[in-house]
Symmetry: C2
């Protein structure tokens, strides 16, 4: 049915192996021979059978990116960046959506939901530090996010605490005294919510502001709807506020919606800042200030680390943790710039590479 190397070889009058050599850019081939093979390939419309090559080489050229949901803009943009970075290096990305379900996240690691790929970039949302054992597998992993530390894998993360503290201090520096937080996860010790909340508290302390529990708004899932809801609850309770730090942009945009619904002017009465700096932030009304965690750099670094490890032979290198630079992007919602202006950038903290020793299995 389909054209194989055998057909090409026959037509070009060479051996099957020579066709393979041409296809793979083996250098020691006479120009004339190469030409003849190329022509045969074109004439017959031959395409390499990837399944056969993959079987033989024990490599597929695919990597998995496992994220909670593509419909969340942060992850869609992350996926975009990862795909582009991988593509540049000649690799292809297979996306798994885990819906933040524990079962699906475990499946990704166990391989039930990860056939066929050479490595995994994994942004877990359900698994936590107690699940480190699950990360001992026979393919390389790069972990994203703040839920799992100490696993035998490279890790690209962000300056959550420092960035959240900077965002809080930014609001305080604008003279705000009643700074609410939207998106907290009560009782959690790990994950972005906990870290960013910690940064918020540090920021309050440094600014000499009291910590008022009424200013903490819970939101389990970080969607617009939950952000709007949390904000609405707080406003309905009559809690007095003059600023809001939302733990991501979706929450912030939801909160913005609720603030407007209550007839509250942003930034006049309440200043608002989000986290992630997704594309949307630029275009809301007013344009949303945010923390840019360096998403593009995260994607590029993750792909780089993963490919390095996939290609590695010999002794496994020690695992690394990379923290890209993050910045505050001040826009209209904090009164940092006037309408139509670009965001003002405040560098938060420079990241870097840290080498982590983990007992390897």
């Amino acid at each position: 049915m389909a054209v194989t190397m055998h057909d090409v070889a026959q037509r070009a009058g060479v051996s099957i192996k020579t066709v393979s050599n041409v296809v793979n850019g083996y250098p020691y081939i006479r120009a004339e021979t190469r030409q003849r093979v190329q022509s045969a390939i074109e004439d017959l419309g031959y395409r390499v059978n990837m399944s056969a090559r993959n079987l033989r080489t024990r490599r597929t050229g695919l990597i998995t990116l496992a994220v909670p949901e593509l419909s969340l803009p942060y992850f869609a943009e992350l996926a975009d960046s990862v795909i582009s970075a991988a593509d540049t290096a000649g690799w292809t990305v297979l996306i798994e959506q885990t819906s933040a379900s524990r079962e699906r996240e475990t499946d990704v690691l166990s391989g039930r939901r990860r056939h066929l790929t050479d490595g995994l970039i994994f942004s877990p949302l359900a698994l936590g530090p107690d699940d480190i054992a699950l990360f001992t597998v026979d393919f390389p992993i790069v972990i994203l996010g703040e839920r799992v530390f100490g696993a035998p894998a490279d890790h690209v993360t962000m300056n959550n605490v420092a960035a959240a503290k900077a965002a809080t201090l930014h609001l305080a520096s604008l003279g705000r005294r009643r700074i609410a937080l939207i998106g907290a996860h009560a009782g959690e010790q790990v994950g972005s919510a906990a870290l960013r909340t910690a940064g918020y508290l540090e920021g309050l302390a440094e600014a000499g502001l009291p910590h008022d529990p009424a200013l903490i708004g819970e939101a389990g899932l970080w969607h617009r709807s939950t952000g709007a809801e949390a904000m609405r609850r707080m406003l309905d309770d009559g809690t007095e506020i003059d600023a809001v730090f939302a733990l991501n942009d979706a929450l912030a945009l939801g909160a913005l919606h609720a603030l407007h619904a209550h007839g509250i002017d942003v930034p006049g009465q309440v200043a608002l800042i989000g986290f992630d700096d997704v594309d949307d932030a630029k275009y809301s009304v007013p344009a949303l200030s945010s923390v840019d965690p360096g998403r593009d750099q995260i994607a590029r670094t993750a792909v780089e680390l993963l490919l390095e490890r996939i290609g590695a032979t010999g002794d496994p290198a020690p695992f690394r943790r990379v923290v890209p630079d993050s910045r505050i992007v001040g826009r209209e919602s904090t009164g940092d710039v006037a309408q139509g202006q670009e965001g003002r950038l405040v560098s938060v903290q420079e990241g870097g590479i840290e080498t982590v020793e983990v007992a390897s299995g």
Copy 2:
């Protein structure tokens, strides 16, 4: 290195083929044997080698979804829907980003950028009706969108003209007389822009409104920034308007930004409606009215048609064109509902399946 069927067979004391039979759910196996094999699999942590299976069965269980960019919310949400639909059927989706580049779109069809998958769901943005020849390939394709008709492939599309007409008439029914359009592609005869513009003109005609070229705003790419820009241009020109129909939601949200920047009240002075009904539409301020083209149904149908054709043996069935139902979702930006209320739905037109005869190659 890795565990193979051979190892499992040895441990379970059966032949390799019996292991294969167990793994594949072949019914005629003694319960006791099956149990022994299962245990061996668990003990050894065996996983099927997909590359080997794919080579042997000539099928990978993967389908490609080729879209312009994931960072565009419409395509991110479409990808989400397609992945979920495929997953339900036990298939995996590989996403290709074409950046709307002609070269990359051609590559997707030629296979240079589409190894390893059994079929393709393709939303072209650069290829047009002159490129039909490229669609004659040896794997099934389902085309999305409105740029390519008559190609030898199934096609899932939308009621663009009817829906755009309905959106325009909706604005007219609110008493609006100067209805601007944002997102036109001057000179184009095919594609969503042309069809929706045609619908807009039909709507104007039916409402007895004159067609004023000053009301047509160009925007090559349908991003927020270009929407904002087109709107700004029109407002700066002093063109008088009392309604805007943006050809997609990103444009609409950009336009909303520009309207606010000009101090124009929505919907008080200008009513606004978009197209696509992306998630964001619900959460803008004011909430954006839009046209829901039935994205979920599109995704499900596309997957269904593709898998049907992949599984098909024997004579190829004639190609089908499916048009899901679309609806108008009236929200605050057209004054259809008050703040916080759900959108009001107006059914536009019922879709259906049409069978198309195309000369098969």
